[in-house]
């Protein structure tokens, strides 16, 4: 039978229309992604087809002799919950155009997971329940009567363990079978009215449901043959439940249950508690806490939680510096040895203009080297660490302990991770702010991140001050930088509209991370960084190279003179070095010496030859606080948009100049 489409379907849509679609729905931390990976890893036929929204992924899978799209949706507490922050989950679900729902529930916590299953069943779509994490439940001595639960829910129930793959093929196969059936029924023109069992809602609620469903049915009166997928209808109709009925994508009763959702929830929770009591058995209900439970308890208790937290952050930080540092040296050495000579020869052969050739090399050689020695090693290491911390569930425990401290800065506890990471490299820390919920939190945290001296900036402070003024002065400079960051954080919290919402956080259970999942998560984020940062890095380097090679840099020093000389009391070359440090912060020092030698002659090989200790102090603080490097700016633009990136960077420049001028006057440098 040929189906008519209103408009020519897009290639992806054609694919989606040809085979049924199964949506994975479940509460957060139920192991949905692990199950998705197990299903697609074992039975995958095709490549990733990233969805339109972040966090939605589709894969073509086959199980039980059937093929279909499996769509991974964000974890949600209910159909009306807004897990992505903007639209209610039922709309996200509708946009995925499912023919069936594979509901992933925690086998050990049905009381809290079945209400979502009941809500999905109310939609009139076929539902298959995967009672997941059954391995963990059994380890606690819990036994589930899957047959009885299947009877109660009037839907197939499978015991699954995503980590080992147990039951996954059967559950996915069952969901594909039901999705296929439903699609066939719809294609043959039948209206997809659900054949629902008695719901068990109180009579008054049931009456209101029936009344609303009746009203929706008469309002809508679908034209014969208008049956389309739920998603197409949702997109065309603007997504209101009533409109979904009009296009026969959903039964009137299903739409009514969305509209009356808040009234139905208490009943769903009551039914869930009753059913859970009926199907749970075994000694698990009375068994003592397992090792993971004890670990979880410890991780959030003041003792030993706080020492554990200190140890964990110290360890992560050390690992990042060690692995990142090693990778950085290896990559930079390899590039300088293998690629640089070839590139230099090649560019000079192809570009006859020597100035242009040199400028190009600033980008192609210097810029890429900067990426390989700063961005790539630290970002990659951090992403792997972050994924491990996320997947192990420890991140939420750490968030509990640091919540109170960070509240003063308008941030929730989990902002501690990116801010600590920032002292290694700002770039991954900016991406690390993704663990925060709201844009306000991400803006405030990103501001703190770029005010935190990264390893390169710390190196500048140490190298500029320790040899000439001693470690105490170096520590004082870090103290000033720290005070500026905290002060600016408190100020930004007061200035940025909105407030920190009260803490309500479900703690993720502690689990051993799955290496394949950690790797995939880290890789996807890393790829996004490379794609965004590389062009910015190249363009920035070439521009700076042109300024340098054409000699335009010296007039620039004249323009900057009122600021560097007049306000900050620094020699003119310092201003240029500060500008160039935008490319790589450690250039602030190397370039300062190079330029000084060009300007003042061979005698200027030591910083102390042309700068006093107060001047060096001002210079170190200004370098550390001012505008982040180009890679960080690229990350900011990628994550928060270019306007926010410009505002945040501009604020740091303003702060740096303010504090620099003040210090210059206090210390007598100006």
């Amino acid at each position: 039978m040929i189906r008519r489409a209103r408009r020519p379907p897009a290639p992806q849509e054609r694919c989606a229309e040809a085979v049924p679609v199964v949506a994975l729905v479940g509460r957060p931390n139920v192991g949905k992604s692990t199950l998705f990976a197990a299903a697609s890893g074992r039975f995958a036929e095709a490549v990733n087809a990233p969805g339109t929204t972040v966090g939605r992924e589709s894969r073509l899978v086959s199980a039980g002799g059937r093929r279909g799209w499996l769509v991974d949706l964000p974890g949600t507490l209910s159909l009306l919950d807004r897990p992505a922050g903007d639209e209610p989950f039922w709309r996200t679900l509708a946009a995925a155009r499912p023919d069936a729902i594979l509901l992933v529930a925690d086998a050990g916590d049905l009381r809290r997971h079945l209400p979502l299953a009941l809500a999905c069943r109310d939609l009139g779509l076929p539902v298959v329940l995967a009672a997941n994490l059954v391995d963990e439940a059994e380890a606690r001595g819990l036994e589930l009567d899957a047959g009885r639960l299947s009877q109660l829910l009037a839907a197939p129930v499978h015991l699954t363990a995503g980590r080992t793959g147990r039951g996954v093929a059967e559950a996915v196969g069952d969901a594909l079978r039901l999705a296929d059936q439903r699609r066939r029924v719809r294609d043959e023109g039948a209206s997809p009215r659900g054949t629902l069992p008695a719901s068990g809602y109180p009579l008054d609620v049931e009456l209101r449901l029936a009344r609303r469903a009746g009203a929706l049915a008469t309002e809508a009166a679908p034209a014969p043959g208008a049956a389309r997928s739920l998603g197409a209808a949702a997109v065309e109709a603007g997504g209101e439940p009533a409109r979904l009925v009009a296009s026969a994508a959903i039964s009137p009763r299903g739409a009514a249950t969305i509209e009356l959702g808040p009234d139905l929830e208490p009943s769903r929770w009551a039914i869930a508690a009753d059913w859970a009591a009926q199907v749970e058995d075994g000694p698990g209900r009375t068994a003592g806490p397992a090792l993971t439970d004890r670990l979880a308890r410890w991780s959030t208790a003041p003792w030993p939680g706080i020492p554990l937290f200190v140890a964990a952050t110290g360890l992560s930080f050390g690992a990042m510096m060690l692995v990142g540092g090693t990778l950085s040296t290896t990559l930079a050495t390899a590039w300088s040895a293998a690629a640089s000579p070839v590139l230099t020869a090649g560019v000079h052969a192809l570009v006859p203009q020597p100035v242009l050739a040199a400028a190009l090399l600033w980008g192609l050689d210097g810029g890429v080297l900067a990426m390989l020695s700063v961005g790539v090693p630290y970002v990659l290491t951090f992403y792997v660490l972050l994924a491990v911390l996320e997947d192990s569930g420890y991140l939420t425990s750490a968030a509990v302990l640091t919540d109170r401290l960070l509240n003063a800065l308008g941030l929730p506890g989990r902002a501690a991770i990116p801010i600590l990471a920032a002292s290694g490299c700002n770039v991954p820390a900016i991406y690390g702010t993704r663990v925060l919920a709201s844009r306000r939190e991400r803006l405030l945290a990103s501001f703190l991140v770029i005010l935190t001296p990264c390893s390169a900036r710390s190196a500048v402070v140490v190298a500029a001050l320790t040899p000439f003024a001693g470690p105490l002065v170096t520590a004082a400079a870090f103290g000033v930088v720290g005070l500026v960051a905290v002060g600016a954080g408190v100020g930004a919290n007061a200035l940025v509209p909105g407030r920190q919402p009260p803490l309500v956080l479900e703690l993720a259970p502690l689990r051993r991370p799955v290496p394949a999942l950690v790797g995939r998560k880290a890789w996807l984020r890393f790829r996004s960084f490379v794609v965004t940062a590389t062009p910015v890095m190249l363009a920035g380097s070439i521009l700076l190279g042109l300024l340098y090679e054409t000699g335009l840099v010296w007039p620039l020093a004249g323009i900057l003179q009122p600021v560097t000389g007049g306000w900050l009391g620094l020699p003119a070359v310092a201003g240029i070095a500060l500008v160039f440090a935008f490319l790589r912060k450690e250039l602030a020092l190397q370039l300062l010496v190079t330029l000084a030698v060009i300007r003042y002659g061979a005698g200027a090989t030591s910083l102390s030859a042309f700068m006093t200790v107060p001047q060096l102090f001002v210079y170190a603080v200004v370098t550390s606080v001012s505008v982040p490097c180009v890679a960080t700016l690229a990350a900011l633009g990628d994550e928060l948009g270019w306007r926010a990136a410009a505002t945040l960077s501009g604020s740091t420049l303003f702060l740096a100049l303010g504090i620099g001028g003040l210090l210059a006057r206090l210390l007598g440098a100006a």
């Binding site: 507490l77 916590d109 809290r112 929770w269 959030t300 302990l401 919540d403 506890g413 309500v504 479900e506």
Partner: protein
């Protein structure tokens, strides 16, 4: 016999989850404030049994166990979760 205005009587403030120390548990009788809907979706609703597992010092959050789940609640949120007197 309890009087209807007992809720507003300052001499007998209604006990809340924030009053419980670590290791103590209570039955929820009511949830007030903007977070009520979110808390209900997490299972904190009348009749639920909550155990305070730990309290982070210096005004930090409470860690509350609710069946299999563990929730971290700010003290302000916990102070709006009413619990059984006894």
């Amino acid at each position: 016999m309890p009087t209807p205005d007992r809720a507003t009587d300052r001499s007998t403030p209604k006990p809340t989850l924030a009053d419980l120390g670590p290791g103590h548990s209570a039955r929820v009788v009511g949830v007030e404030g903007d977070e009520a809907d979110l808390l209900a979706q997490l299972g904190v609703a009348p009749d639920a049994r909550c155990e305070v597992e730990s309290v982070v010092p210096l005004g930090g959050p409470l860690v509350v166990r609710l069946g299999r789940a563990r929730l971290a609640l700010g003290r302000d949120v916990a102070a709006r979760i009413l619990i059984d007197d006894r």
